[in-house]
Symmetry: C2
Subunit: 221 residues, 2 copies
């Protein structure tokens, strides 16, 4: 669902970055069960990923396991959380306080994973001065001014699809360097801008299709 | 971010199902601009996907373009929406009315893409009888009874990570056949159960990493 810029070679491959949070989730679970050590084989077995992939993924993270006992779980959790950027607070602006934008402003979970939405912007004057979950909503005209004041460089894009490209360009012109794009539109931005596409609705299409396919299989049996 | 079950061969590949919503979004945009025909080359150019991939993807959908003019945009939108399951209403239950679960209940956009969350379930007695965005919240104990009454077979999983596996098993035992898993935990379920993993927080990790990598590049120049 996402683009890595082809022109820049990143140290950590995107599939690795997407799997590391699974290992973190599992390590946290194990920690709650008061288990102190965890091997890559154990991780692999529990989350159905090849042990060699787990080991390779963890090689990007600065942690070393002990022979026979594996990784210290406390250390693994700490190192992964920090490596993934979840322990730092990254302030962000949200663009488009519609249904999905409002929903994301309601989700305090984002903050636990390092994303702190500090303001929402919208074109609707009736939203100006209101707030959702204590996050203020401003008219979009105030974005540049507030960006200058704060230096915030992450933008969450939740506008209607037909505005996605236009607003993305406006965000970039105003100083945004990373766009978390929740629209199903494939925005085009300069190469030095990070785009993370998260079209949750596209995932729905996969789920519906698989559910139907299984139903057809059942009916033909 | 998602699993296709390895034992079952599905007709439409998952990458195709994930790209089709992009084409739909673009076709809708074009329709608003009152353009009547659209070629796969035009789609390809605008959303940075190879033209051959666009043509191949669209070959799974029952639509044929006209030589030189391309696809009828109205037809393309209708056919894609219906193919992707967005025109049918799929009723679903949500499990775990925490921050993210509540946020998803706030998102009316899901309904436009065919998902209708009709009830939320939680273990917290204080939530029982309340509602979010007119969607009632029940105690989890009532799930089986309500599943029997309604036959609803889609479940959205938004419980805390340490409960993910347990609740997934409970959902399956109670008649759920497709799980939209928003937890970062890799749940293990029988092969005939559809799992769609959407860990939005994992996408954050990719975005943070790319942003840092670009910053480092900048500093080294």
């Amino acid at each position: 669902m996402s683009d890595s810029k082809k022109l820049i070679e990143f140290k950590v491959p995107e599939p690795t970055l997407r799997r590391l949070p699974w290992y973190l989730a599992f390590a946290k679970l194990v920690l709650k069960q008061e288990q102190l050590f965890l091997s890559s084989t154990q991780i692999a077995k529990n989350i159905s990923v090849d042990a060699s992939i787990v080991a390779k993924d963890l090689s990007y993270v600065k942690i070393s396991g002990k022979t026979r006992v594996g990784y210290d779980v406390n250390e693994l959790v700490d190192v992964l959380e920090s490596f993934l950027g979840f322990t730092r607070s990254h302030k962000a602006f949200l663009f488009g306080v519609g249904s999905l934008g409002g929903a994301l402003m309601h989700d305090d979970g984002l903050e636990q994973f390092g994303l702190d939405i500090v303001a929402g912007f919208d074109v609707k004057y009736e939203l100006t001065g209101t707030s959702i979950n204590h996050i203020p909503i401003h008219h979009i005209d105030r974005f540049k001014e507030l960006q200058n004041q704060t230096g915030i460089n992450i933008g969450v894009l939740t506008v209607p699809v037909e505005k996605a490209q236009e607003v993305a360009e406006f965000m970039v012109a105003g100083g945004i360097q990373a766009i978390w794009n929740f629209t199903p539109y494939r925005i085009v931005v300069p190469d030095n801008i990070v785009v993370q596409n998260t079209s949750i609705y596209a995932h729905l299409a996969v789920m519906f299709n698989r559910l139907n396919a299984l139903k057809e299989l059942d009916e033909n049996q």
